[in-house]
Symmetry: C2
Subunit: 273 residues, 2 copies
C-alpha cells in the first residue's frame, strides 16, 4: 500500500489550545482513497523541530509527506524553511507563487478588505519556496500550498486554517493521491456489542481475525455505563469494493454468532462514529 | 522547562475514525501545569511502530513520555510490549497489577456484568508489564496505567478510553508532574482583531514580540468571512502568576495601540477557544 505521513506544525496543538481536526480529516480522506497513513507527528513552530520531523519521516520512505500549518506571513510560519533545511535546499522567491499572492491582494483591495496591495516582505515570504517546489493555488485564502519531490517522496505543504487546507487538498492533492492509490478501496463497518466485557470478546476477535486474514477488527469500549458496551470496527483494503464488502460481511457473520453464544447482544452501527 | 512527549497508539487515529481528543486534553492539562509538550507522535497498533516511536522519543531525552492507548486485553493492545522492546526489557506478570485486575473482575461479577471472574490469558495480559514497571490504579476501567523509569525519562502508559485516561492522569500522574514542574505557571489570553489582514499584523507582532521577549504571540486567521477576523493568542510561562499576567498585559496594550493606528478593531476574547 502507498504510505503517507502527516506532519502537523503548530504550537497551538502542543499547548492543547486547538484540537487537531486537520489530522483527522486528512487521515480519513487519505484512508478512504485506499492509501495508508503510517504516522502523524505534531511539532512546534520551530525550525529545528520541523526540519527534524521532516528528515525523520523521509528516512521511513513514505510515498507522501503532507504537512499542515506554518505557511502564513508571520515570523513563526516556518514550515517551508523547515522543509528546505531538511533537504538542504535554498529558499527562493517563486514567481508563480508571487503572482498568486499578488492577485489575491489585488482582489482584497477591490473587495475593500484593505487599502494597498503592495508586496511587503511578510507577503513575499509566502512566495518564498524551497528550490524546485511548485505552488498549489489556494482558492480560499492567501498562502499557496506547496509541492516538492525529494527522491521517491512527494512532500506537500498545506496551510493550517481548515477551510484553506481542505480546499487545496480537494483541488490539487486529491488527483495526485488518487493516481498513486491505483484501484485500492477502503471499506469499514461497525457493530455494537452489549452485555459482554472486552476481555471476553478478545479471544473471539483472535479467532475471527485468524479465519479472515484480510479483515482488521478492533474493539472500542464505550463509556462507563453499567452494562458493558463495545464498538467493534471492521476494516479492509482491497482492489475492488465487492471483495472488500464480502470480506467484512463474512467476518461480521462469524463474530456475531460467536458473541450470541456467549450471551452478548449485537446492534449494527450504520456508520463508524 | 520540563519537557513531555506524547505517543498516541491506535489505528483508529490513523484512519481518521477517531479525533485525537486525548492528545489535546493531555497537552492542555500538562501545559497548564507549567511543563512543555514538545512533540505528539501517533502510531499504529504495531509492535515495530510503537517501539520505534518510544526509542526515538527517548533519544530526545524528555523528562516524561506519556503514551495513550493499547493497554487492553485484545491482541492489538501492544503498547507495553512496544515499550519493553524499545528498552530491551522482558515482560513479566506483575503481581500488584494482577491483584488490581482480579479485584475489578470480582467487582464486575458482583455487579452482574459477567458470570465468572477467572483470570483468562487475555486478562493476565493486562497485568503483563515491562520489568521494573509499576501499575497505576484505574478507577474507571480495568487495565491499569503503567509507570516506568528509563535513565532520566519517566514513561507513563495510559489507556485510550478517555474517561479511564483522564482518571488515571488526575489520580496518579498529576502529582508527579506537579512536583517536577516546580512553581512554573502558564498564562494565556486572546484578542480578536477585525478589519486588517494577517500580513498587516505580521510586522506588528514582530515588533511587539521583540519588545516583550517572554511573551509568545500567535495569529490565527478565522473563517472565510468578508471582513478579516484574526485571533491573537498571547502566552507566557513564568515562576509566578503575577509576573506572567503583567507580561501578557503589557504586550496586549502595546499591540492594541499599534493595531488601532492601522485601522483595525479589537475585541477581547475571555477564554482561548
Amino acid at each position: 500500500m502507498v504510505t503517507v505521513e502527516l506532519v502537523c506544525v503548530g504550537n497551538e496543538l502542543l499547548i492543547g489550545k486547538t484540537l487537531n481536526t486537520n489530522a483527522q480529516w486528512l487521515a480519513k480522506r487519505i484512508t478512504s482513497l485506499g492509501l495508508k497513513v503510517r504516522r502523524i507527528t505534531t511539532v512546534a513552530d520551530d525550525l529545528e523541530e520541523i526540519s527534524s520531523a521532516i528528515r525523520e519521516a523521509l528516512l521511513r520512505k513514505p510515498r507522501f509527506i503532507i504537512t499542515t500549518g506554518g505557511l502564513g506571513p508571520t515570523f513563526d510560519d516556518k514550515t517551508l524553511e523547515g522543509i528546505a533545511k531538511a533537504l538542504n535546499l535554498e529558499l527562493k522567491t517563486n514567481n508563480e507563487a508571487l503572482k498568486m499572492i499578488e492577485e489575491k491582494y489585488e482582489q482584497y483591495v477591490k473587495e475593500g478588505k484593505m487599502e494597498k496591495a503592495e508586496l511587503t516582505p511578510h507577503r513575499i515570504k509566502m512566495a518564498t519556496l524551497p528550490e524546485g517546489a511548485k505552488p498549489l493555488p489556494n482558492p480560499v485564502g492567501t498562502a499557496p500550498g506547496v509541492l516538492l519531490e525529494a527522491d521517491n517522496t512527494i512532500i506537500i505543504a498545506l496551510p493550517g486554517v481548515p477551510p484553506e487546507m481542505k480546499a487545496i487538498f480537494e483541488n490539487s492533492v486529491l488527483p495526485i493521491l488518487r493516481r498513486e492509490a491505483g484501484d485500492m478501496v477502503f471499506y469499514e463497518a461497525s457493530l455494537e456489542v452489549l452485555g459482554i466485557v472486552e476481555s471476553e470478546i478478545a479471544p473471539i476477535i483472535d479467532e475471527v481475525m485468524h479465519d479472515n486474514p484480510y479483515v482488521y477488527i478492533k474493539s472500542h469500549p464505550k463509556g462507563e455505563e453499567k452494562t458493558s458496551r463495545i464498538e467493534l470496527h471492521f476494516s479492509t483494503t482491497s482492489a475492488d469494493s465487492e471483495t472488500a464488502k464480502n470480506r467484512v460481511g463474512r467476518a461480521i457473520i462469524q463474530i456475531s454468532e460467536m458473541i450470541k453464544k456467549k450471551g452478548g447482544k449485537i446492534r449494527p452501527l450504520k456508520t463508524a462514529e
